[in-house]
Amino acid sequence: MATATEIFGTLADPTRRAIFERLCRGGEQTVWMLTEQAGVSQPAVSKHLGVLKHSGLVRDRREGRQTHYSATPKGLAPLVDWMNVYTAFWHEKIDALEGLLKRMDQ
């Protein structure tokens, strides 16, 4: 399993992080589909996917000439501290609660 430092390094690149988030949200996709949205060349996308795979954040599956990638969010485990995650979660939700309370005045 990758170290937290390695995962931070992997996700520090905004393009690479965008590819990972896209896979988390949209499920399995081919390099081609990812390239259409990434705004960089196909070899660059492939290289980013290679780094993500090496860090355990994505897995690949060959089907014919296409390689399909999907996110393996469990790869984030080394840097997921559930208390921080829930703290962030509740701050976000309580912000939304305050927004709702303001709207309830209107």
């Binding site: 931070f8 996700l11 520090a12 992080r17 988030e21 988390c24 969010p73 469990k74 984030l76 485990a77 840097l79 997921v80 501290d81 559930w82 208390m83 921080n84 995650v85 829930y86 703290t87 962030a88 979660f89 509740w90 701050h91 976000e92 939700k93 309580i94 939304a96 609660l97 305050e98 927004g99 709702l100 309370l101 309830m104």
Partner: protein
């Protein structure tokens, strides 16, 4: 990291410029809960079992099982919070405490009962996704 199955809590406290009665409505009326938290079938009744529902994610069905433990109108609301299945399972209790102040309400949220042998809550990672990445970027900016 302690290896014992010690329990820990997340506590968030805020001063809110609205009276407790109004916050209470937002915490206990299903259509209002849906606006700030999640879709639900909450009822303000002791022992009522309800679900909070969000998008399924990976091998998690997106359902949080809850049961009302404490109801003291305008003061205290507590429910169990049992998120997910299999390795994602986290059992905890969420307690809301409302204390009137001269300017509104002191709101306290405590989520307790986490065990330190459940270090990876992937379900939580999904909820906190955006905030999580925002924090990640902050951390990276400081690194």
């Amino acid at each position: 990291m302690n290896t014992a199955a010690e329990t820990r809590s997340v506590v968030i406290e805020r001063e809110i410029a609205h009276p407790p009665e109004k916050i209470w409505r937002a915490l206990t009326q299903p259509h209002l809960i849906a606006e700030w938290l999640m879709q639900n079938d909450f009822k303000p009744a002791m022992g009522h079992r309800f679900n909070l529902r969000t998008q399924p994610y990976g091998d998690w069905n997106g359902v949080i099982d809850c049961e009302v433990l404490t109801i003291e109108p305008n003061k205290t609301l507590a429910y169990t919070w049992d998120s997910g299945n299999g390795p994602l399972r986290v059992t905890s209790v969420v307690t809301w405490t409302l204390t009137p102040t001269s300017t509104g309400t002191h709101l306290r949220m405590e989520q307790s009962g986490f065990r330190s042998d459940q270090p990876q809550n992937y379900a939580g990672a999904k909820y906190g996704w955006q905030a999580f990445f925002a924090k990640l970027e902050e951390a990276l900016a400081k690194a």
